[in-house]
Amino acid sequence: MIHSDLLQIKAKELAGRKKITLRCCMAAGCMSSGAQDIKQQLEQAVAAAGLQDTVEVRRVGCMKLCCEGPLVQADPPNALYVRVTPETAPSLIAALQGGRTEVAQTDPEAAFFKRQLFIVLANSGVIDPERIECYIAADGYQALHEVLHEMAPKDVVAAMVQSGLRGRGGAGFPTGLKWGTVAKSPGAKKYVICNADEGDPGAFMDRSVLESDPHSVLEGMAIAAYAVGADQGFIYVRAEYPLAISRLQIAIRQAKQMGLLGAGIFESPFHFNVDLRIGAGAFVCGEETALMASVEGKRGAPRPRPPFPAESGLWGFPTLINNVETFANVPPIYRRGAEWFAGIGTEKSKGTKVFALAGKIKNTGLIEVPMGTPLRVIVEEMGGGAPNGGQIKAVQTGGPSGGCIPARHLDTPVDYESLGKLGSIMGSGGMIVMDNDTNMVEIARFFMEFCMDESCGKCIPCRAGTAQMHHLLDKIIRRQAAASDLAKLEELCDMVKSTSLCGLGQTAPNPTLSTLRFFRHEYEALLLAQAGGPSGHGDLNPPPAAAAT
């Protein structure tokens, strides 16, 4: 494979395009509502109408507006059909020929779409994720070619630093700095790992990216591997995402066949292989040292840092770990230039962020917005507010490690620092909207139960602390707690936060702390009337039959 081969594939693919494209969303959400049947019905209807030469029925990835799925887009005339069923699908072909269809449409120019800026999701819902030719036709692998032939590894790192990209897994560590550290670390072998262990409940950005545009992640990993001097990559993906796994397997096979992975990529001396590692359901494996233990086939228990993975990671070798979305940002940065990327977003948070918008909101789905977009724009304009006339009470970001931002702070811009100031975190991109029906203490207990179950048990503050905090929250909800219990809860939050070994424990108190900060009255309303109460120091058992009315 040389550059002209790439251009040839692109030209052939574009020349073969038919006049009309019918894009069928075949990401996991729409697949669960019969997208496979819909595509089949459309293909049959196209054949029956004798339109095989003018209409292409294409499988595509996520078309973002998940709540209205299954989605089908006819282009031209750029009509977005919603809630299509296998029965109504054939009428879409009739509509193309000037007939009528009963299928409802949504406005592709609505705020939900218009306010988005696509970098990571540019190909999502447009290309066929199971055909590498389709990715190449969208300028795929051009960046890798340019990097391998025009840039030295240190220039690749420098460009990444200049772009200002920060890790999209949640913590926001500067990607260029991480790449530079791994590149400088001496090691006979180096590894690149893609963290696709999207454990945050309520988040599905990484799943969507992998299902919609797996090659962008592979290309990003290859560029990163060249920059740091690695020759082996792993993608650690959750077993709960079977469709993402199968599309990744197809993508890796196709890239290998074309010589875009493996030995001597683009006839350069650069070698790079990627293997999949399937997770087995452990939230803690999203933590990098636990993830590496899992890749090595061990229990996913974290270890103290330093040494950081950049110095001593997988099997003791320098290892670069980035999130799916971070890698998906890489090819566009090299294709369009670091300055272009640095021009998007805010001063300290560059580029865009993909969010999975869900919960009590009209439009649920996948959105990609420039950093610095106010939460209000996302929730009210794009999301359309709470359904059924409800009122938005809070927005939860960062999952079990994040916090709840109350409605009065909706004008906060979405960037790493602003969310941090409110006691939440950017997180990987789960954004759950809650309305007035949602009890915030129950939400705190929900997340604490999650962390309690997911604690690996290695360090005591997390193992015992989460259980005790859960017990106290439960006691408050059962109206058996006194003010002293609330004080003890806060004390425990502080202790677990500052003494746990890894990120899971250090952030486990966050949902409780943030709900305490903004919704303290909900906690206090549940406390027993007499202050002090029967609960003495160290008493963690519920008092017998206390005010169980």
Partner: protein, 175 residues
């Protein structure tokens, strides 16, 4: 004492291997291990395959894997019990997985789960005594856009209600 323990363990291993020789699924599993060159770091991949073949990971199976990968049984058992995806108990004929991710939770997954628990008289992780239904919960299946979601026998179903879930489970009962 130590000697007897070792002998006892060897006896168990021999029994497990003997048991394995008569079952074709063990051969398939061994082919899978060979594909990974019997590398010890492939343990999780091997256990995934084992669970896919056998439905659950019983002691004999874990001993078999341990001996083939030359790993101590404790390590294999430790990994099998650490990860939620692996199950050491056989599942019922049907499985009902209620997603308890945050989006599903705020949209009433807890009510669906409570209704199913009430109907089947079992808790998550358990199987009905007649071996008909296993009830499970998931941390998040990533189908938040169509919450609340329930997975019936591996099929993700969107926008569920307690009533719809009960219909499905009663439907299984009829069969």
């Amino acid at each position: 004492m130590v000697a007897t323990m070792a002998r006892k363990k060897q006896g168990r291993l021999r029994a497990a291997l003997e048991h394995a020789s008569g079952d074709n699924r063990f051969k398939i599993l061994e082919v899978q291990m060979k594909k990974h060159q019997f590398r010890q770091d492939a343990l999780i991949e091997v256990l995934h395959k084992a669970q896919e073949l056998f439905g659950c990971l019983e002691d004999d199976l874990l001993l078999f894997v341990a001996s083939k990968l030359k790993l101590p049984p404790s390590r294999v058992y430790g990994v099998a019990t650490f990860y939620h995806f692996f199950t050491l108990k056989p599942q019922g004929r049907h499985t009902c997985v209620v997603c308890m991710g945050t989006a599903c939770y705020v949209k009433g997954a807890d009510k669906i789960l409570a209704a199913v628990e009430e109907e089947t008289k079992i808790k998550p992780g358990e199987t009905t005594p007649d071996n008909r239904v296993s009830l499970l919960t998931a941390r998040c299946i990533g189908a938040c856009g169509i919450a609340p979601a329930v997975v019936y026998d591996g099929r993700v179903t969107a926008r569920q209600t307690a009533g719809a879930a009960l219909d499905q489970i009663r439907n299984w009962g009829a069969k």
